[in-house]
């Protein structure tokens, strides 16, 4: 079936899998512009119904709460604030679900070069303001110790030019909130060998690890997923740096790698790897679609569930012409649900072991 046309339905969200898991203190609420928002530090012991806060709504008048983002004070009282959870802290904020990304120092972001200036790049990181990347904040080919010369300025486009994708860390913030990025690490830099997708900024959890390596199925090798905190995601074939057989020094290795870091040419990627890259991308999209925030553990689980679903032959009901890796619509929901189930099981098992 080439096209599926569905009747409109009220917005659906998958509720957090386990009332007792860590994930539970996140709720879906409505924010200032009537968008859906997600609350952090939502009350644990409150009702199970999705609390939706609308602008102007008084959330609490309890003075022990501190006003955070997305809230304001009205004549001494907090408004648009909700929550009583004290185990994190007393700061209360309402975060819109659909919003631009607000950069914070230390965030790992994926960005796209929007403009090249004489000594810096302007980078689109899904924020209201373009991020800056200074020529001095990147690794130059020829090793870390290489001195920056004025020739580099003239060849600034040979490092990054308009449209190029990169992964970087937010190094500092300017007065106006614009981020300043750096790529001074081998794990940062230009992106190739893969596929870029964009989800809403709130879809990615700020967590420990944003560079996830999945063992892909069907002999596709390893797939790297870079989950930018800003909602930009890069899925690519894992490229391992082959240590030369002589066992040379690590600096030599770095130098060699850095020669290629600004290459625009992809390596050979087998079709089977491409297929799994697409599937991983679909998993991320489906998770965000069904409001499950993406981190390493859940992504892994959802990916496995998606594979299982394919094995079981479950695609769109009645349809057979869909791509087997496709996770649009109902299939995606099933995969995400199964993945969440998997996480829950793992969690309870782990708890069992502890107990």
């Amino acid at each position: 079936m080439p096209i599926s046309i569905l009747p409109p339905q009220p917005a659906q969200y998958l509720l957090p899998p386990d009332p007792d898991s860590d994930r539970e203190n996140e709720k879906v609420v409505l924010d200032e512009d009537g968008d859906f928002v997600r609350m952090i530090s939502t009350p644990r012991k409150r009702s199970k119904a999705i609390p939706i806060v609308t602008p102007g709504e008084i959330v609490t008048s309890d003075p022990q709460w501190m006003r955070g983002h997305g809230t304001c004070l009205m004549r001494g009282r907090d408004s648009a604030v909700d929550g009583d959870d004290s185990d994190v802290n007393k700061l209360l904020s309402v975060k819109p679900l659909r919003a631009r990304y607000t950069p914070e120092i230390g965030d790992l972001v994926v960005g796209r070069i929007a403009e090249v200036q004489s000594k810096r790049w302007k980078v689109d990181i899904n924020s209201t303001l373009m991020a800056h990347l200074l020529l001095s904040s990147i690794n130059l080919p020829g090793g870390i110790l290489r001195k920056r010369t004025s020739t580099d300025e003239l060849q600034i486009r040979s490092f990054f030019s308009e449209g190029d994708l990169l992964v970087a860390e937010v190094q500092s913030l300017f007065q106006d909130g614009a981020a300043s990025l750096h790529t001074r690490s081998l794990k940062y830099g230009k992106l190739r060998n893969g596929y870029f997708l964009k989800v809403k900024a709130g879809g990615i959890v700020r967590g420990k690890s944003h560079i996830v390596t999945l063992e892909a199925a069907n002999g596709a090798g390893e797939v790297d997923v870079i989950l930018g905190v800003n909602g930009y995601v890069w899925v690519s074939k894992k490229v391992t740096l082959q240590a030369p057989p002589g066992g040379e020094s690590i600096t030599r290795l770095e130098e060699e790698a850095s020669e290629a870091i600004y290459s625009n040419v992809n390596e050979d990627i087998a079709p089977v790897t491409r297929r799994e890259i697409a599937r991983v991308g679909n998993c991320v999209r489906a998770m965000v679609r069904w409001n499950v925030r993406v981190d390493e553990e859940v992504l892994n689980a959802v990916y496995l569930s998606a594979l299982e679903l394919e094995e079981m032959g479950f695609t769109e009901e009645g349809g057979s012409s869909n791509g087997p890796e496709c996770l649009e619509g109902e299939v995606g929901r099933r995969a995400v649900e199964a993945g969440m189930e998997r996480v829950r099981e793992a969690n309870s098992k782990a708890r069992g072991m502890v107990e």
Binding site: V116, S118, S150, L154, Q155, R157
Partner: protein, 206 residues
């Protein structure tokens, strides 16, 4: 000149001229890949020629619009200074004298641009030595005509130019009073009428 390659007297865009293995694509041509072979094809209307190095080129005979040149890295250009500040001089490039391995760069005299291209000469690119002691006001004045070389395509609005060579620098200048200046040495020019000496980064007269 080469060897019995039958070329048409006039080539038009899209017209196949030669096969690539023996011959190479020169200015005014491009190559198309067939499954079996690579064909050198004309990309402008003009006279096809085979050169000694087995490259095939197509040149334009039209006298009114001989060449379509764009400033490229390494091409020598003539530019007029339009603005000056301590860090850089903004210029408009009005003639390209070739030099780069430009696709149309066959002509010796280069070409006059129908439209001027904006460029900048940064302070550090004025001369090759003592770069940190360069003063823009002692190198150029607004209205001077400068011979310079393109060092980068630069950003959306400016080409980056350099005059860091003996043959590069101011070639035509006028004094404050409007009299023409002529070069005395590499850093000074004098007025023939009044004898006033002004400072410039002077191009060595050819």
């Amino acid at each position: 000149m080469s060897q019995n390659l039958p070329l048409p007297p006039i080539a038009l865009p899209g017209q196949p001229l030669a096969q690539s293995p023996p011959y190479a694509a020169g200015p005014g041509t491009y190559t198309t890949q067939n499954p079996t072979r690579t064909v050198i094809t004309a990309s402008v209307a003009g006279i096809p020629r085979v050169h000694a190095d087995k490259s095939v080129s197509v040149t334009r005979p039209s006298p009114s619009h001989p060449l379509l040149l764009l400033p490229e890295v390494a091409s020598t250009v003539l530019a007029r200074v339009t603005r000056l500040n301590p860090r850089q001089a903004t210029v408009e490039i009005f003639a390209i004298q070739g030099g780069g391995d430009g696709i149309h760069g066959g002509g010796d005299g280069g070409c006059v641009c129908e439209h001027t291209f904006q460029g900048v000469i940064r302070a550090q690119d004025v001369r090759a030595t003592e770069k940190d002691r360069i003063k823009m006001l002692e190198s150029f004045r607004v209205g001077d005509v400068v011979r310079a070389v393109v060092i980068s395509l630069g950003d959306q609005s400016n080409y980056y130019l350099s005059t860091a060579s003996n043959s590069l620098g101011v070639v035509v200048a006028h004094s404050d009073a409007g009299d023409p200046l002529h070069p005395i040495n590499w850093r000074q020019m004098a007025c023939a009428r009044t004898g006033i000496v002004e400072e410039r980064k002077v191009a060595k007269p050819i």
